[in-house]
């Protein structure tokens, strides 16, 4: 009964849509479809050739696609810890590295089944588990178990992506779209649906500024370039840029049909412009004063985008951000 309703909404001419349906049809569903496709391609490539070098293009394409939706921490991706298993970072105590080393040493074939892989520590799975095996020290390992482990991790990632996408198309999108309707026990009012999406936007911007950039920044006296995200693959800045691009699209979609958001757009444009001009792919420059200043300015620009989005989009939607999983310490 719900599926036709979704289909009908998605079939509407796009300019007529507003906020929630716009976000779902133009941002969420295409984003998950792209991630699902890219991870399936990666899994297929791993079946053909599981040597580390051969997987790098597909792994990068999958990470690119994930950044289109990585800020969406609601619904299917939150079930069974999928968001964590897809991309467990930061991992300050190197839990993923320790668990993977233990697996490589033990070389237990029983762990390679899809059922067993789903039980493995989230820190060892997903994009960062694979990064260790195709860029880190373990990339040099050419034995059969390392090879099979790459295959199994890629398969597991593709399965999580497919399940997440299916969760949205097979019910969760309808649940968000029907926020406030009778019988919707998750979103009791239309406002709760909007607030849930708005919270993802704000939290995503906070993660980019505080974690993706804040961790390598450290303090002036103690910069921490070694803490940058995806350091082994050299994607740290690229991840910020792609995340901001996705968040900008989400902000546009949220405001669609409700009003203009000139300050938010300008703030996003400035942050993206700064990111584009920053010639420091892994934020290694945080260790010297001039390089550090550029990274700090980018961080401030992202914080400004958050501030503008809270003010403009929050007002248009009539909501404020709710609690998110990053609350606490």
């Amino acid at each position: 009964m719900r599926l036709p309703a979704l289909a009908a909404l998605l079939a509407l001419a796009s300019p007529a849509m507003a906020d929630v349906p716009e976000v779902i049809s133009k941002h969420v569903l295409p984003g998950y479809a792209a991630f699902s496709k890219a991870s399936a391609d990666l899994a297929a490539a791993a079946q053909t050739d599981c040597a580390a070098e051969g997987l790098r293009d597909e792994w990068n394409a999958t990470f690119d696609a994930w950044l289109g939706v990585s800020h969406l921490r609601m619904g299917p991706v939150e079930e069974q810890g999928r968001a964590l298993a897809i991309a467990y970072w930061p991992d300050p105590k190197n839990i993923g590295g320790r668990q993977l080393d233990a697996m490589l040493t033990k070389a237990d074939p029983a762990l390679l089944t899809s059922e067993a892989m789903a039980q493995v520590s989230v820190a060892a799975r997903g994009l960062f588990g694979l990064e260790r095996l195709i860029y880190g020290d373990s990339a040099q390992i050419s034995d059969a178990y390392a090879c099979d482990l790459r295959k199994a991790l890629a398969q597991d990632l593709a399965a999580m992506a497919a399940t997440t996408e299916a969760g949205w198309t097979g019910g969760y999108a309808d649940l968000v779209l029907s926020a406030g309707a009778e019988g919707n026990a998750t979103f009791l009012t239309a406002s709760e649906g909007r607030q849930a999406l708005f919270t993802q936007l704000i939290t995503g911007l906070e993660f980019d500024a505080d974690t993706r950039i804040g961790r390598p920044l450290g303090t002036f006296d103690k910069p921490r370039p070694e803490r940058a995200e995806a350091l082994a693959s050299g994607r740290s800045l690229r991840n910020v840029t792609l995340s901001l691009t996705a968040l900008r699209a989400m902000a546009e979609a949220l405001a669609q049909g409700l009003g203009e958001i000139p300050q938010t757009e300008a703030a996003f444009d400035r942050a993206l412009d700064l990111a584009g001009k920053l010639d420091d792919p892994t934020f290694a420059g945080v260790s010297d004063p001039s390089g550090r200043l550029k990274v700090e300015i980018l961080q401030q620009a992202i914080q400004a985008a958050r501030t503008a989005a809270e003010a403009e989009i929050g007002t248009l939607l009539g909501v404020s951000a709710g609690f998110n999983s990053a609350d606490g310490d």
């Binding site: 505080d210 501030t307 503008a308 929050g314 709710g322 606490g328 310490d329």
Partner: protein, 420 residues
């Protein structure tokens, strides 16, 4: 991490049709502050009892005095964990909290550890500093004389050294490590098993440097007592925390809800409970040395319910209570209040099942083990209950607030700014 605060204009709730039933915002805040005052006073008193037990252990190390000190530590956690509901809404508490309850810690900073354990942290050069064994230590480029182990050394030099949060030199968990030692059982049964002989002066000392270990334990316990005394004073009549709370009643109501929601969801359900299960890593256990994590979680849950219902049962059994946030929400929207109260009861019950299972022999770290389906079910039930109550807390915010518009810049500089 930055807290996302909730917009709220509590005063508008008083203009609703049910005005007559609602207590004044000030009366609700008075109750809340009274609960905090009693909670921190109880925390202080039980920490002083711990201090006495630690003194007895150091004076005459034996299995009995060690067990008595451990029992005193466990008793001290009961009132303290209930005060965690005050943390995220009140800057004065949140800024202070890291001194008393910081976690997780690289315990190798303090004392000997098993080198094959997860105590090694590649991101922390001080993770194996071992102050107990080393009177001369180097932090960054600075050489430090640690011959005398004092509260100043712990709080002013070692704690969060080099800006790394895992350098926890003070607080309950530092004391816990010194009383129990590392739990080397992974996700199998068993807690830390430090022998009392780690505190024997002279002949029979195990682990080396027993005198310095005793000095560390003494300094950490004394500092804990001093820190708790400071916070207890903050909630007295003219204390800083109470004054800040009462200065802006609408912000004060927001502080209660922010504290409830942030602890329920991001901190407790996420960071402290669900994450450990996802990682299958016993290091992700809040009280990982003593295996008393179930108590921490249970009393956190109870504390969240306490502040909503405006009632706290003290260590001596007496009850502090008064007009509550529940009364305010009920006046604005009885259905929201009823659901939230039911959700709070649900989470306390689910956390109670976790506590019962642990007391029955399945400690929290065993619940985290890969393949322990019964353990996972207990954990997931608690997480689901906490997430459900978070949604209801958001609905309480909506019921009390009106048009929640956002004013941005304050939020970046001042996490306690209320957007409105």
């Amino acid at each position: 991490m930055k807290k996302t605060l909730l917009a709220l204009a509590a005063s508008t709730a008083l203009t609703g049709p049910a005005f007559a039933e609602a207590p004044s915002t000030e009366a609700v805040l008075d109750t809340y502050a009274d609960l905090a005052q009693a909670g921190y006073a109880d925390s202080l008193a039980t920490a002083q009892a711990l201090q006495g037990a630690v003194d007895a252990l150091i004076a005459a190390p034996s299995e009995d005095t060690l067990q008595a000190a451990r029992a005193a530590w466990i008793a001290a956690r009961v009132p303290y964990q209930q005060t965690e509901a005050f943390r995220f809404g009140n800057a004065i508490v949140d800024d202070w909290e890291g001194r008393v309850n910081a976690w997780p810690l690289d315990e190798g900073l303090i004392d000997y550890v098993d080198m094959s354990s997860a105590a090694v942290n590649e991101e922390n050069e001080l993770a194996l500093l071992n102050v107990v064994a080393n009177p001369k230590i180097t932090i960054g480029a600075t050489e430090i004389d640690a011959t005398e182990i004092t509260p100043e050394l712990l709080g002013g030099v070692l704690h969060e050294a080099e800006g790394i949060e895992a350098n926890v030199a003070t607080g309950y968990h530092a004391v816990e490590f010194l009383l129990w030692g590392q739990d080397l059982n992974g996700t199998e049964a068993g807690a830390g098993a430090r022998p009392f002989t780690d505190y024997l002066a002279g002949e029979g000392c195990t682990g080396g440097n027993c005198d310095r270990r005793a000095a560390y334990l003494k300094a950490a316990t004394d500092l804990l007592v001093a820190d708790l005394a400071e916070m207890a004073a903050n909630w007295e009549a003219d204390g800083g925390a109470r004054t800040a709370l009462m200065a802006d009643p609408a912000a004060g109501v927001s502080a209660i809800l922010t504290g409830m929601g942030s602890l329920s969801y991001g901190e407790l359900a996420g960071e402290r409970i669900k994450l450990g299960l996802m990682l299958h890593d016993p290091e992700e256990e809040h009280d990982c040395f003593s295996d008393m994590t179930h108590l921490s979680h249970y009393y956190d849950g109870l504390g969240i319910r306490n502040v909503y219902l405006g009632s706290y049962t003290r260590v001596d059994g007496s009850v502090v209570s008064g007009p509550s946030l529940s009364d305010l929400v009920k006046a604005a929207d009885p259905a929201v209040d009823e659901k939230l109260r039911a959700d709070l009861d649900g989470s306390v019950a689910a956390l109670g099942e976790m506590k019962a299972a642990a007391e029955g022999g399945m400690a929290f770290d065993q619940m985290l083990g890969m393949g322990n389906e019964a353990g996972a079910a207990i954990i997931n039930k608690a997480v689901d209950a906490l997430i459900a109550q978070t949604r209801s807390i958001e609905r309480a915010v909506a019921a009390l607030g009106t048009e929640a518009t956002v004013e941005g810049s304050d939020s970046l500089d001042n996490p306690n700014a209320v957007f409105q």
